[in-house]
């Protein structure tokens, strides 16, 4: 089961965009030393959408922080495009989006959206011009000069997406980006993200609590067990793309969903097929 998570596809073609090999990560809480991730291996190939599903405390966010270079694991290796890199060299190589949009309240929509480009060394005006050129695509037409506090939650998260995509990285790390939104806005953004990803084709690693979200979006869903986080199950989701909303009643969709719920320990014995 572990081997499947490493992704055999990467071995035959180019190296995976992101690969974690035997990663173990601990953190201190008071005097105790707790294990967030234990000997975890995972790979995301180019143009592949992988969802990471797990309960709270299964170390999902830690995993993304490790991939982004914010944390160095205690053991194991992290490879970007097949090259093993230390944390400091991983910074600035992936686009990262979190549950909170983390927009800067003192910057306008284009000012926020251009932030990653500015950090990468582009002059502010140039970064903002590039952001402005893509506002329509992100449903932000005419709102370029608004401040974040003037926008709804869905719009704010789309500004955060624009900031993430504009950086132009081949890896997207998404940490529950839809969790804080209402169900309708979330559905809308799912469709929108799929359309965007099908155009741009990044390697996506999406952390989510939502099993349906994982089946709807991903090529592969990896279930993490809680404390310490380990790969408990890998579900290959071979539903045809482009995926439509009507899929949710498809028997195959329901089967994948049930398998993930089962792996999370959320199905009663009688419910199992």
């Amino acid at each position: 089961m572990r081997a499947a998570a490493i992704g055999d596809a990467g071995a035959t073609s180019a190296a995976p965009r992101l690969e974690l090999r035997g990663v173990t990560s601990t953190y201190r809480e008071g005097r105790a030393r707790l294990t967030a991730l234990s000997d975890l291996s995972l790979a995301v190939a180019d143009r592949e959408f992988v969802a990471l599903v797990g309960r709270s405390g299964s170390g999902k966010s830690t995993l993304l922080d490790i991939a982004a270079g914010l944390i160095e694991p205690d053991a194991g290796a992290v490879l970007l495009d097949g090259v093993r890199l230390p944390a400091s060299a991983r910074l600035g190589r992936s686009a990262y989006l979190r549950q909170r949009d983390l927009l800067l309240p003192w910057r306008t929509v284009v000012g926020n959206a251009g932030l990653a480009l500015e950090i990468a060394g582009l002059p502010r005006q140039e970064a903002e011009a590039r952001a402005r050129a893509r506002l329509g695509e992100f449903g932000l037409e005419g709102r370029g000069d608004a401040f974040p506090a003037q926008l709804s939650g869905g719009m704010r998260q789309r500004v955060a997406f624009l900031r993430t995509i504009l950086a132009g990285h081949p890896r997207l790390l998404l940490d529950e980006p839809f969790a804080a939104l209402d169900a309708l806005t979330r559905t809308e953004l799912h469709d929108w993200l799929l359309a965007l990803w099908e155009r741009e084709g990044q390697a996506v690693l999406l952390v989510t609590h939502d099993v349906e979200e994982a089946v709807m979006l991903a090529d592969r869903a990896v279930v993490l067990s809680a404390a310490p986080g380990q790969v408990a199950h890998v579900e290959e989701i071979d539903l045809r793309r482009p995926r439509r909303r009507s899929l949710v009643t498809d028997p195959a969709f329901v089967r994948h969903k049930a398998a993930l719920l089962d792996a999370l320990g959320l199905l009663d014995r009688e419910d199992r097929a």
């Binding site: 270079g69 309240p105 003192w106 950090i119 401040f147 709804s152």
Partner: protein
């Protein structure tokens, strides 16, 4: 994907809103003055003890050139002292923020600057620097320094950790993190400190003039008190209040111009 815009109307006050916010205090002050005037006249209180508002108004008009000339001297001390307080306060805050060692070394000194009894210090400054502008400026700067330094330190420490982590993930250097997040996040706190500072700077300047000066509203008041020119003293107090309110308003105005995003955040109560 059109979504409703969270209210950004009403950010600009209407004429009616302006009247609504200014009418109550104006009425209250007007009523207070009327009661004062009537009470003094009915009771026959002597003018040197408590002059009626009409006498104060007369003093304001008749002595206007004297009052304004001295107000200009006080205003100069306030402005120069405030500028000094701002520069020193920001510098101290940046140093305290820059390293834990400097924090441990400097923070107690910042607090100590506030515990120095000004009544004890002002005469010393007089001995050292004479009766000119400098000792007043120093007293003013000393009282204004503390709120600016402390608020700025708090503001720099208040930056959102998750936002800083995101910036690091984007590859931002420490300098970029400071320029793009920590400094702008601290500005509202800097302005809070500046608003407090400008108010106490007026008090500081007048106190400096009380102790020993050759001009200024504080100097004028000590002279007038000695001669029982109570109407002139109250007129000077009124001018000082106006000066304080005006300076406070000026700082608030600069804040509005520098931080245009603030009104939306305050209004919606969102974020931070």
């Amino acid at each position: 994907m059109t979504e409703p815009l969270v209210a950004d109307a009403a950010a600009r006050p209407s004429a009616r809103g302006w009247i609504r916010s200014w009418a109550p205090p104006a009425l209250l002050v007007g009523a207070g003055l009327a009661v004062w005037e009537v009470a003094v006249r009915v009771s026959g209180t002597p003018v040197w003890l408590l002059p009626p508002p009409s006498a104060v108004a007369r003093a304001l008009v008749e002595d206007r050139s004297l009052l304004l000339a001295n107000a200009a001297v006080t205003l100069t001390a306030v402005l120069v002292g405030f500028a000094l307080a701002l520069a020193a306060g920001l510098l101290a805050a940046l140093l305290i923020d820059a390293s834990p060692t400097l924090d441990r070394a400097l923070y107690p000194l910042v607090v100590a600057s506030q515990t120095v009894p000004i009544p004890a210090l002002a005469p010393l400054l007089l001995i050292w620097f004479g009766y000119g502008l400098l000792p007043k400026v120093l007293v003013t700067a000393l009282v204004g320094f503390f709120p600016i330094a402390v608020n700025t330190v708090d503001g720099l420490r208040a930056a959102d950790r998750e936002t800083l982590a995101l910036l690091r993930a984007f590859g931002a250097s420490r300098g970029q993190q400071f320029r793009l997040v920590r400094l702008p996040a601290a500005l509202p706190a800097v302005f809070s400190g500046a608003r407090i500072a400008i108010a106490v700077c007026v008090i500081g300047a007048v106190f400096g003039e009380f102790v020993g000066a050759q001009a200024g509203l504080g100097y004028l008041m000590t002279r007038a008190i000695a001669q029982f020119q109570t109407d002139r003293v109250i007129a000077a107090i009124g001018l000082l209040s106006l000066m304080g309110i005006g300076l406070f308003g000026a700082v608030a105005l600069v804040e509005r111009l520098v931080l245009p995003w603030r009104r939306f955040v305050v209004q919606t109560g969102a974020d931070r």
